[in-house]
């Protein structure tokens, strides 16, 4: 997740050469140790102060995390999330200047199964991270990605958010916290540790089948992101956390913004890259590292010995054009080298955006994407890129209904009665889709996933050979929603207000 700074290793040496003669721009006394941007030289002490202040300022400015709240830190092992962990540790220490007042916990998702690591490799990584986590004294949870296969459907349902607290509530909560002598409850009372459970090999295989059913790396990465987020949210919910802290840094977010844009996620850009993301309702995703560049983090980790662990991901050791995510990352990194303001400009663009459909407070799930939980962006006017694409597909296909050929875009359907529903039984024999076409008949009902997904998740599913490997919680929720749609259609003439779901 956060291996971006690998390129900066040699940058370290280069940057330090010219700075030897210079003084720190902050204290103007000590000689400079780092050059953050052109002309900004900092000495060791001032750099540390600047770095720490930035973290507190980000949390202080946004006032989203209340004192005494349980916050789950998603640590991937990469430099950025490890740096976040060290900042939280620093902020909670007894001598901290502006002490943080929340109760942290750590979650690590072991994705080794999806990436194809051996059991030994996975164990080694987990052991390494476990040592880091233990040293913090925070409760931590090691969760294998395989557990995503057994999630409940409630994960993809937006939970009602606790009523929005008024602006004054934050101050009141702080006052209250300070009065009720807080020193006792700051140190975690218990040491909850969930060590990595033994993962059955068969489960890993099922997971690999699921990831492998996506034919392109772009779709595989997108799918993995979705699954990871579901598992993170589920872990936060079951362990009683209300905030989930992600380690996305500025560089990462610039890449993510451009990637999301290229994947058709324009409507969700603000949620994908903003400071907070409330798409799950009860669990709020927070990105406190979004002001740091990957370079700053690399400097800090290097100078103050923050350990991070190298974790391979799906696009490790692939070419630039292996996937859209990978291509965008290399594009931004290269452009940043020529034009140093690239990342910050893209990042500032993201600050000016907002989600198209304001999330309504009601748990109005039928209008949210089954996978990414964002408001559906497919109900668009006639003159739109979405409609134009549909028109193109229609016009390029046979006008006569019976003759189906391999060129027809794969119907996005669950593994049920595919052949009979797509008009004409003769295509059962098609070699290409024969697999998912006839292997089915487990359930009598046809699920049309397409109508339940946002534009971009439709693209991902389109890139999958079949959806039968999708975890059960997704398929059963899809069925449930489908049934509700049908029901609504049946009673539609009696409903007075078309827009009101009424549940």
């Amino acid at each position: 997740m956060c291996q971006v700074d690998e390129d900066y290793q040699d940058g370290l040496e280069r940057a330090e050469v010219p700075s030897v003669s210079k003084k720190c721009v902050k204290c103007k006394e000590a000689s400079a140790a780092v050059v953050i941007r052109a002309g900004d030289t900092y000495c060791r002490g001032c750099f540390k102060e600047y770095f720490i202040h930035k973290f507190r300022a980000m949390l202080g400015k946004n006032r989203i995390i209340f004192p005494g709240e349980k916050v789950l830190l998603a640590v991937s092992g990469g430099p950025s999330s490890c740096s976040m962990l060290s900042q939280v540790q620093e902020g909670l220490s007894q001598n901290a200047h502006k002490k943080l007042r929340f109760l942290p916990g750590i979650v690590y998702i072991d994705e080794g199964g999806a990436v194809g690591q051996s059991v030994e490799e996975r164990q080694r990584t987990v052991a390494e991270l476990q040592a880091v986590f233990k040293a913090t004294g925070f409760p931590f949870h090691m969760v294998p990605l395989e557990e995503v296969l057994d999630l409940p459907s409630s994960v993809v349902v937006m939970a009602p958010s606790p009523s929005e607290p008024p602006a004054s509530a934050y101050k009141a909560a702080v006052d209250h916290f300070i009065q009720s002598d807080s020193s006792g409850c700051l140190t975690p009372q218990y040491q909850e540790q969930t060590l990595l459970p033994e993962v059955q090999e068969s489960r890993t295989q099922v997971l690999q089948q699921l990831i492998g059913s996506a034919k392109t790396l772009t779709a595989r990465q997108d799918l993995l992101n979705t699954l990871r987020q579901h598992l993170l949210v589920h872990t936060a919910r079951t362990k009683g956390y209300s905030k989930l802290m992600l380690g996305d840094n500025c560089t990462r977010l610039a890449v993510k913004l451009l990637t999301s844009l290229s994947l058709g996620r324009g409507a969700q850009l603000a949620q994908d890259t903003g400071f907070s993301d409330s798409r799950y309702g009860d669990i709020i995703l927070v990105r406190p590292m979004r002001d740091y560049s990957a370079k700053e983090i690399a400097y800090y980790n290097y100078m103050f010995n923050v350990t991070s662990v190298f974790i391979p991901s799906l696009d490790t050791k692939t070419t630039d054009k292996a996937s859209i995510q990978r291509l965008t990352e290399s594009f931004v990194t290269k452009l940043q080298a020529d034009f140093p303001s690239t990342v910050s400009t893209i990042y500032r663009t993201s600050e000016k955006l907002q989600t198209a459909c304001r999330s309504s407070c009601t748990a109005d799930h039928p209008d949210r994407c089954l996978l990414c939980m964002c408001a559906l962006d497919t109900a668009v006017e006639n003159a739109s890129a979405f409609q134009a694409t549909l028109t193109s597909e229609q016009l390029s296909q046979s006008k006569s209904l019976g003759a189906t050929r391999t060129e027809i875009p794969r119907q996005i359907r669950a593994p049920v009665e595919q052949c009979c529903s797509s008009g004409g039984g003769e295509d059962c024999g098609r070699a290409e889709t024969g697999g998912d076409c006839c292997s089915s008949a487990k359930e009598p009902e046809t699920i049309d996933l397409k109508s339940l997904l946002c534009y971009s998740c439709q693209l991902t599913i389109k890139d999958m050979a079949s959806v039968e490997h999708l975890p059960q919680y997704i398929l059963s929720e899809a069925q449930k929603r489908q049934r509700r749609y049908q029901m609504r259609e049946e009673i539609s003439e009696f409903l007075l207000d078309d827009g009101d779901e009424g549940d």
Binding site: T216, T218, L257, L258, S260, L261, S262, L263, G264, R265, G266, A267, L269, A270, D320, K321, A322, I324, L327, T328, F331, L335, F339, T342, T345, I346, R348, T349, K352, L353, Q354, T355, A356, D377, V380, N382, A383, S384, A385, F386, Q387, A388, T389, T391, S392, E393, L395, S396, Q397, S398, K399, S400, A403, R405, E407, I408, P409, Y455, S456, L459
Partner: protein
Amino acid sequence: MPVLCSSCAEKRAVLKRPKTGHSLCKECFFWAFEEEVHQTIVAAKLFKPGETVGIAASGGKDSTVLAHVMKVLNERYSYGLELMLLSVDEGITGYRDDSLETVKRNQQQYELPLKIVSYEELYGWTMDAIVKQVGLKNNCTFCGVFRRQALDRGAIMLKVDKICTGHNADDVAETVLMNVLRGDIARLRRCTAISTASEGEGVVPRCKPLKYAYEKEIVLYAYFKKLDYFSTECIYSPNAYRGYARTFLKDLESVRPSSIMDIIHSGENLSVREGVKMPVQGTCNRCGYISSQALCKSCVLLEGLNRGLPKLGIGKHHRLHDKILSQQPLTEKEERKLKSVDF
């Protein structure tokens, strides 16, 4: 084994559509391409019967295909439009003079009236002369700003109700990327609109009927229709930074062909946060053209050229606008900053 057309299932397919991946025969491709442009025009309600429409024609592939398709569709679906060709002569020897020859041939082939407006008659400067003063850096700024206004002036001379331009899907997606890379939120919001709202005096509404047509399909269409078009890059080198966005887009397309449409979809669904400062549209104090500043960009650029300070319009010198308007002399320091540096 020959591949059969996926649409008519009778003839041999001769091409694979870059947009959808379907294999089509020539006739079915023509039909699909034209039909899609028609759908776009109808869905976005671009024209009303009886309107006079100026087609911005450069002689390049996009505008040649646009002129051809507009003529075909106007007849096939009885739009009731009066079509005209409108060209701008920037005065670039060895480039525009050749491409204008193509436009003149198109005029005869399609039997459409043609109007050419030139930078020289409008501004007193040809691009050749501008490049001589400005150099090869930033000259595209002059050309782009002047062309926008030149088209409007030509449209007013011709008394057309609307202008349509040959911008294709690739152009729109590229512009979305560019505006993100430049952090230009105001343009980011506007750039995916298929037509500009009528913005008042002196500005003719514009639209992009080829907004959802892939550049590659436009070339295919022109190729199989054997259309007469001019394909040379401008001799005054294209904008370097845009080149990065273009290469990136082509790479994206090669990874996932739908990327171009996906980016346009993203652009169409973006929304800007409340409270973000947006430029306010006003009019230029000198020429009355739309402008967000006291002086419109082309007046500032022109002033710079005429005073021998070409950098006046490059970068931000809003504070100097009042001085220019009241015809006050600039200080020596200001002058030195705005002179072109060529050594």
